[in-house]
């Protein structure tokens, strides 16, 4: 129990620090990403370019159970007044240019994957919910996750399967809110880790998707502006993702047989070699 608490606290701290970092990245505009030359020495990992250190932004700390404390009334009066000033209105403008070029360092991507793995049992598992949920209805899930959002303190992922209506069927709370947290028995399951990228035909080739598109049909829900910085697309101005990034037939399970079948080739007869 105590070790659990300690590691939870560590994870929360990690989350806060990483949120600072991720949010910071959004503000910086980067230099054009790459030259036209294809460097055959480059691996997919180090094709990612360096970025500058992100500036710090203010973050509202979460409480132990992940709930952001309500503002008290005196504070609310002050904030309401502050909000009315024209200067403040200007600051509400999003600092994110959705078409700005994104630069991602290898460690950004690893951090994003690490963050994602915190509430997934294996690559492809439905994420558990890192905040309290309404036990009885899905309406509150839809309210925030239908479109997703990025605020100064929160990253709200967008649903990538809006046709589904029964959220809690797959997404359960990471921590119980109604009873003390007890992991009943230790489990030795080791989940499949997330890959850092899909396979490429050659350096510089567009990577194949390393995951299924089933229930991940909206690429932008993870790779768009409300996704984690480390796995955002570096070319958000292009919107036809599947034009270059092909799904994997195995992971899509669309075909019973993954080996392509062909008609027999032309029968080539060589008179000289014909036997008797």
């Amino acid at each position: 129990m105590t070790t659990d608490r300690t590691s939870n606290a560590a994870l929360l701290t990690a989350f806060v620090i990483m949120s600072v970092a991720v949010a910071g990245y959004f503000t910086g505009l980067q230099a054009p990403m790459n030259s036209n030359s294809v460097d055959s020495e480059r691996s997919p990992a180090n094709q990612l370019t360096e970025s500058e250190e992100p500036p710090e932004v203010g973050v509202v700390p979460a409480t132990d159970n992940g709930v952001i404390p309500a503002t008290d009334y005196s504070e609310m009066v002050r904030m309401t007044a502050a909000r009315r000033t024209p200067d403040d209105l200007a600051s509400l403008k999003s600092s994110i240019d959705p078409l700005a070029e994104i630069r991602i360092r290898p460690e950004d991507k690893l951090m994003a994957l690490q963050q994602r793995s915190q509430n997934r049992a294996f690559n492809g598992a439905p994420p558990t919910v890192p905040h309290p949920i309404d036990q009885q209805s899905d309406v509150s899930c839809i309210a925030c996750h239908r479109n997703g959002a990025v605020t100064s303190s929160l990253l709200i992922p967008k649903m990538s399967h809006t046709m589904m209506a029964n959220c809690t069927q797959c997404h359960v709370e990471s921590e119980p809110r109604h009873l003390p947290s007890v992991v009943f028995r230790e489990n030795l399951f080791t989940g499949l880790p997330a890959p850092t990228g899909g396979p490429r035909a050659f350096p510089g080739a567009p990577p194949q998707m390393p995951h299924t598109t089933w229930m991940r049909s909206d690429c932008m829900s993870c790779h768009g502006y409300s996704g984690r910085h480390g796995i955002r697309t570096t070319h958000p101005w292009r919107s036809n993702c599947l034009q270059c990034h092909t799904p994997s037939a195995t992971l899509e399970q669309t075909l019973q047989h993954t080996e392509p079948q062909f008609l027999p080739g032309p029968e080539i007869s060589n008179n000289q070699n014909n036997g008797p």
Binding site: A45, L113, A121, Q136, D138, P176, V183, G191, T196
Partner: protein, 822 residues
């Protein structure tokens, strides 16, 4: 053997072919490792996290199909295996049942194999502790117990038995030991559904299938919470709304649940209110003239219970008799009995009276765990028949099962105390002769008298031998009766009481984890589970499914089926006559392709051949008798399950979506439209039953003022022995609680997480309260889920059973509560 090859080929075809490793690989690895270390340092991560490897993590993962281990829905999963371990699970997109979707249990099913405390060695009780023994000792200990008193030995099985496992035990008990004391946990789960189908159609299992959920205009859930218990099926319906379709959802229940939130109508009823509601609908259909004269005249007869001779045949009545019996069930009277307003009863009757609507009814434990379970099951079939809402896509009364093979292994293989495979019964001389013929047994081997049903079996086990307790040894496989039997203080707990006079009783338990049952076991056997063994199961829609062993079981854990066969062989070696067929051959004699016997009773040789395939092909012959035809094993290897009857036509094995309906069911004669070809009246007609409303077996009174209901939750499957060891599920739902109404909580000055003592006439339990939690019970009622082995609600429940199905009622027990000072 050929399926092994097929399987290996399949694995190769499914493996993710990656790019060949290049020279840059090592450097790349190094860069990743350093980058990861840097990222981890920046983030200050110390807690557990998945190792991040790179795209090579996708290589070497073999994906193979299997049905999910948990409920009766029968979703198929793709199991990702790497390095001899299950590492990932995906919904199978080629499976018709779930079409690529799973629920949270299904997505995490792989972790069910890797709880740290898996049982790894056979354990024999030695006073208050256990000592590890060899499998040889374990097998001979069981053989000793059986030989000492063969007629006092009982087998308690499960709807989680695979079809071959159940079939082997069935043959071992009834055909080998001439002993009918074999019954499954499914007795506690769907026995009343069986008797409802038998009473109505003369043959068991639903006529409709899940395709009805895609076609229905109205879905009525009778005491059913599929949003949590059958989430994939529930999504299948409510996701239709996302596509712009209209479906009217009606929840008839005793508490508000997640299902209620998605329904247009919630009809809150009192326990046993369903009996009144069904009669109220029939009353109005007749009164309004909206019943289907054509359907009833052509395809139905009427029945009422015969009090002098209570059985599933009852007595024939006329339509006029039926009408007269329904006369008292006016909407107002039904309101008084059920608590559901007369207007809502009229609404239901208007829906059933509208022939242009397609209506599907779903039910599960609400109607089955009911002391009038046979009655309410028959009556819901009855209103579908009376109104003609039957036999076309979207029009079906469909009962759901809770276990992966309650249908496949229990209902079809017949692992019940009175049944034989293929829908036959031990009480019928011709049925016995057929089974003896197929099993190549000498005539008269199978006993005529049914064995003990579940409640009777455990009552006898917990009664001292000198006081008439005629069961002295029970072998439990794949189930956890120490948690799921009702009234545990009567039916299970005495085993652990030194003063109960049960010293001569012996409990054998095959399981994968320590449970509430192994707690009192004398011999514990470690079993292989799910994809650690080959298997076949049958889901709620008559779909038979197959999978192959993919990983090794831990330690010395072995297949349940091997355990049974090894004991049978030990008895054979000791000269027990029953273990031989009429030619003196071993009951489970299996020959390889060259005609040489394979010693499958030796574990090293068990997988020299596909035992499942041999047993299934033998069992398959039984399935013809009641037109529940199964295809050859190889067809199931190729398919994501097939719905029986599977009949060969033009060289193709064709499944059947809608039974008894022309154009769908190959056994319906041309021009018949609808043909109930197993009619109990032998005239191709189904029976519409009248049953009166009868009060529950126990009602709240001044001493015990609350009505207690039990049930399940989304995150945990049944007793939680598997799901509670999965961190994602256990953290979401760590322990049991009592749901209660806020007004009741106010009276007792209770707040969330306060502890209360809940007492019934049979036991007591201290448990935290959750007000307005997952579900909202009405005033005067409590709900406690049964998944928590440390908070056993079945210490409180009632062991009263339905008179026909012998299934207990877990939903209605009178209790009182008091606050426990903190």
């Amino acid at each position: 053997m050929k399926f092994r090859e097929l399987r290996l080929k399949g694995q190769l075809a499914m493996s993710f072919d990656s790019e060949p490793m290049d020279a840059a690989f090592d450097r790349r690895q190094f860069i990743r490792a350093s980058a990861m270390a840097a990222a981890a340092a920046v983030a200050g991560i110390t807690g557990p996290a998945l190792p991040i490897l790179g795209d090579e993590s996708l290589t070497g993962v073999n994906w193979e199909k299997a049905p999910c281990r948990f409920c009766g829905t029968g979703c198929h999963v793709q199991v990702g295996v790497q390095g001899g371990k299950v590492v990932a699970v995906a919904g199978d997109r080629n499976a018709e049942v779930n079409k690529g979707l799973l629920c949270v249990k299904g997505y995490h099913v792989g972790a069910a194999l890797y709880g740290k405390d898996r049982l790894r060695k056979p354990l024999l009780r030695d006073g208050n502790s256990y000592r590890e023994i060899s499998w040889e000792t374990a097998i001979s200990t069981i053989a000793d117990r059986i030989q000492a008193a063969p007629d006092r030995f009982a087998f308690y099985g499960s709807g989680q038995w695979t079809i071959p496992e159940g079939y082997a035990v069935q043959k071992f008990m009834k055909g080998g030991l001439s002993n009918n004391h074999i019954d499954p946990n499914a007795r506690l789960c769907m026995a009343s559904a069986v008797t409802g189908f038998l009473a109505t159609y003369g043959v068991d299992e639903p006529a409709g299938c899940y395709d009805d959920l895609d076609a229905c205009d109205v879905l009525i859930m009778w005491g059913n919470n599929p949003a949590e218990m059958h989430p994939v099926l529930f999504s299948r319906v409510i996701d239709r709304r996302s596509r712009g379709e209209n479906v009217l959802l009606i929840d008839i229940g005793t508490r508000r649940t997640r299902t209620t939130e998605a329904c247009q109508h919630y009809l809150e009823m009192k326990g046993h209110g369903d009996l009144a509601i069904a009669n109220g609908i029939a009353h109005l259909l007749i009164k309004n003239g909206t019943w289907s004269r054509k359907f009833v005249d052509q395809f139905c007869s009427f029945k009422a219970p015969d009090d002098a001779n209570p059985n599933l045949h009852g007595k024939a009545i006329t339509f006029e008799d039926y009408k007269a019996l329904l006369e008292p069930y006016t909407p107002e009277h039904v309101e008084a009995l059920s608590g559901v307003s007369a207007d809502k009863i009229r609404m239901l009757a208007d829906l059933f009276g509208n022939p242009s609507l397609k209506i599907t009814s779903l039910w599960c434990m609400g109607m089955n765990q009911h002391t009038r379970g046979t009655a309410i099951n028959s009556m819901v079939h009855g209103i579908h028949l009376l109104s003609g809402h039957f036999g076309s896509p979207g029009n079906a009364p469909t009962s759901l099962t809770g276990q992966p093979s309650a249908c496949g292994t229990v209902r079809e293989v017949g692992t019940l105390s009175h049944a034989l495979p293929g829908g036959m019964v031990v009480t019928d001389a011709q049925n016995r002769a057929k089974a003896e013929e197929l099993w190549r047994l000498p005539p008269g081997r199978i006993q005529e008298t049914p064995g003990h049903h579940t409640v009777k079996m455990w009552e006898s086990f917990c009664t001292p031998t000198d006081k008439g307790g005629d069961i002295s040894t029970i072998w439990v496989q794949v189930t956890n009766p120490g948690q799921t039997l009702p009234n545990l203080n009567k039916l299970f707990n005495p085993k652990g009481d030194n003063k109960a006079g049960l010293e001569d009783k012996f409990l054998i338990v095959s399981d994968v984890y320590p449970t509430a049952t192994t707690r009192l076991a004398d011999l514990i056997l470690p079993s292989a589970m799910w994809v650690e063994k080959n298997g076949m199961v049958g889901n709620s829609e008559r779909r038979t499914q197959q999978w192959f062993r993919m990983v090794d079981p831990p330690g010395e854990a072995r297949d349940d089926c091997w355990q049974t066969i090894a004991v049978a062989r030990e008895l054979f070696n000791r000269g027990v006559e029953g273990m031989k067929d009429r030619d003196g051959q071993f009951l489970f004699d299996i020959k390889n392709g060259d005609g040489a016997p394979v010693p499958i009773w030796e574990w090293e040789h068990y997988y020299d051949t596909n035992v499942d395939e041999h047993l299934f092909e033998e069992y398959r012959q039984f399935t013809r008798f009641k037109h529940k035809d199964l295809a050859p094993y190889g067809e199931y290897v190729k398919a994501r399950g097939l719905r029986w009857p599977v009949v060969e036509s033009d060289g193709q094995w064709q499944e059947t979506r809608f039974r008894f309906a022309e154009g769908f069911d190959p056994y319906v004669a041309e021009g018949k439209e609808i043909q109930f070809y197993h009619s109990s009246t032998h005239d191709d007609r189904a029976q519409i039953w009248f049953h009166p409303w009868i009060a529950p077996a126990e009602l709240p009174d001044n001493d015990y003022p609350f009505m207690l209901s039990t049930g399940r939750v989304l995150e945990h499957w049944h007793t939680g022995s598997m799901t509670r060891r999965i961190p994602e599920l256990s953290r979401a739902m760590p322990g049991a609680y009592a749901e209660m109404h806020p007004d009741d909580a106010a009276v007792y000055r209770l707040r969330n997480a306060d502890r209360i003592r809940v007492e019934s006439r049979r036991g007591s339990l201290i448990i935290p309260v959750w007000i307005d939690g997952r579900g909202k019970p009405p005033k005067g009622t409590l709900f406690i889920p049964f998944f928590d082995e440390t908070l056993l609600v079945n210490d409180l429940t009632l062991d009263a059973v339905d008179p026909f199905s012998k299934q207990p009622d877990y939903k209605k027990a009178a209790v009182r509560i008091s606050k426990v000072p903190s």
